[in-house]
Symmetry: C2
Subunit: 348 residues, 2 copies
């Protein structure tokens, strides 16, 4: 079986023999700079048996992609991507050639396509999208990895309950913004932490009960004031000093859902003695800290629940869309530095 769209052979919508991709030029020294990445042309294969070629329309830029730019991921035994390798990430695109029964030319799909404008690979690794559920980009946001991560952490790992308070760091980012709205949808209070008054205002406009600017000189006092009696849950996206302040404001037996460590990935190191303070906070608070993997821990009810909340208007996610893969390196560096609100998407 082989299908091609009517305008095949190099046109906008047919299969192609090359694509543009963003590759790693040099491993970041702590904070990533745009010059660590480069856009280049690469050959693109025609699909083999069971494969499809996808014309990529949207690429998702995700904070945790930063991890894979180090030689070894998180100091464990997982190697990062090689120099010259294409940056990994989720994408949405349209099937332009198929040798797989499950997908037809014209189908919309989502998958780990990487930062490129064309992709060829096994159809089995893709998720076919139902266009009636919403715009294609929702598959990269509320109904994609950010939404599933927020759900897994807030509901499955932290078990947020009505009447509780959840602190959420990186609350203006995609995962954090969804996580706080999930807490609200479950009847809990949500206290966000974000950088700068504009982001904090956006977070509160999305229904959070409060959002504290971690750059404010009285950050810790403000956070404490927003959590009278202490919070029951902390959804951590950043680690480091922000995490320390949040841990200190958890009530006895508080639960930490550890989703990401943006500040640690970027090389912000703790000061001498911080480790002792961190351990003391866990010990004295009788805390539970649980790191989770969305791939491993996400329950089957996550997507139906998120779809329902999306359709009921309980969860919204603003998008920052940049045009063209050439703009991706600078946008990604900006996101890691805290400059982006909501979901960051490249329109290819």
């Amino acid at each position: 079986m082989e299908q091609q769209s009517a305008s095949a052979g190099g046109s906008d919508s047919g299969p192609r023999d090359s694509c543009e991709a963003v590759v790693l030029v040099s491993r970041p020294h702590q904070a990533l700079v745009p010059a660590d990445l480069r856009l280049e042309v690469q050959p693109l294969a025609m699909p083999g048996e069971g494969e499809v070629q996808v014309a990529v329309r949207f690429v998702s830029l995700e904070p945790f992609t930063r991890l894979f730019l180090d030689e070894v991921v998180l100091g464990r035994h997982i190697p990062g991507i090689p120099i010259g390798g294409v940056l990994p990430g989720a994408g949405v695109g349209e099937v332009v050639a198929s040798r797989a029964d499950a997908l037809q030319v014209g189908d919309l799909v989502e998958g780990r396509l990487g930062w490129r404008d064309g992709w060829t690979g096994p159809a089995a690794s893709l998720r076919k999208l139902d266009p009636s559920l919403g715009a294609p980009q929702t598959a990269l946001g509320i109904l994609g990895l950010p939404g599933l991560s927020a759900y897994t952490g807030m509901v499955t790992v932290a078990g947020i309950a009505a009447g509780e308070t959840a602190i959420v760091s990186s609350a203006a980012g995609a995962v954090g913004l969804i996580a706080g709205q999930i807490a609200r949808a479950r009847g809990a209070r949500a206290v966000g932490i974000a950088g700068g008054p504009e982001k904090c205002a956006m977070v509160v406009a999305h229904g959070f009960d409060a959002c504290i600017d971690y750059r404010a000189p009285d950050f810790e006092a403000r956070l404490a004031a927003a959590c009278p009696g202490g919070a029951q849950v902390y959804f951590d996206n950043v680690g480091g000093k922000v995490a320390m302040a949040a841990y200190a404001n958890l009530a006895r037996g508080g639960r930490v859902a550890l989703c990401g460590l943006l500040s640690v990935y970027q090389g912000e190191v703790g000061e001498a003695g911080d480790l002792g303070r961190f351990m003391r906070l866990i010990m004295s608070g009788g805390l539970i800290v649980k790191a989770f993997s969305t791939v491993v821990d996400c329950p089957p009810e996550a997507l139906p629940d998120l779809s329902r909340w999306l359709s009921e208007g309980l969860i919204k996610l603003p998008e920052t869309v940049v045009d063209g893969l050439g703009a991706a390196p600078a946008a990604f560096a900006g996101m890691l530095g805290g400059a982006i609100q909501g979901k960051l998407i490249v329109r290819v």
Copy 2:
């Protein structure tokens, strides 16, 4: 109702109007030195209604007592003991005067009597001992707080299961030594961590599958070799660098039962960057870290289970007994510095 023993009025076994007690003279600057404590004579009241006077026979010296010598416990809102206050701790003694129905003169009791040779207070705060269960000191060891802490952490919090491997720090201390034997009794492997070859030999003689000397230059490599495939549980008594090495040897989804932080209490601070590494280990391992309180989390089946294992010979606890409260400060400082094996008890 009032009872006194036949030889009341100042003799060895009757009620008295004074006692000796160990008090705090100066707050330790990081590591405690014996001169921070002093033995002094204090008045001792006759029992009021519902109270008893106890002639203390054994005092338990416990690592976590160190916490209460700081101005604020663990940096939270719990004040430490005041300067001049008696050091807290469990003790076993004999009732020498009673104005309480529940206790008779001659009864053996255990309670938080503090570091003193005589105690007057409410009978309701004491536990009456059954002499048939074992020597009175077992109420300070396997059938006391150390045993209950080990059980709560290893069974209730970490949920150790047959076929798993548990790493236990401070394995030559009372809690650690019992914790590892509980893991063995439940069909798991136990890998201890202790300081020096003598302690490690003692730990292995108590049934641990291995015990690694944290002072050895190749400590981390030896620990890794003792945990092929990684361990499922880490029972932490110390925090700091030993904890870091243990976390690095946990398999994915490993569980940490956080019982104590001896190295942190003693002022060993992490080096710059350690906090980031610690957070990365939790994140990348998908670990669960749970601090617990024996008082809050200990289940009712703990004491019956421990009694059975004790009677079956599955759990043993060596004692280091020093004579007289005057020897307590130096013995305590030695224990905090890692010089004591098993349970440290003062015979009064």
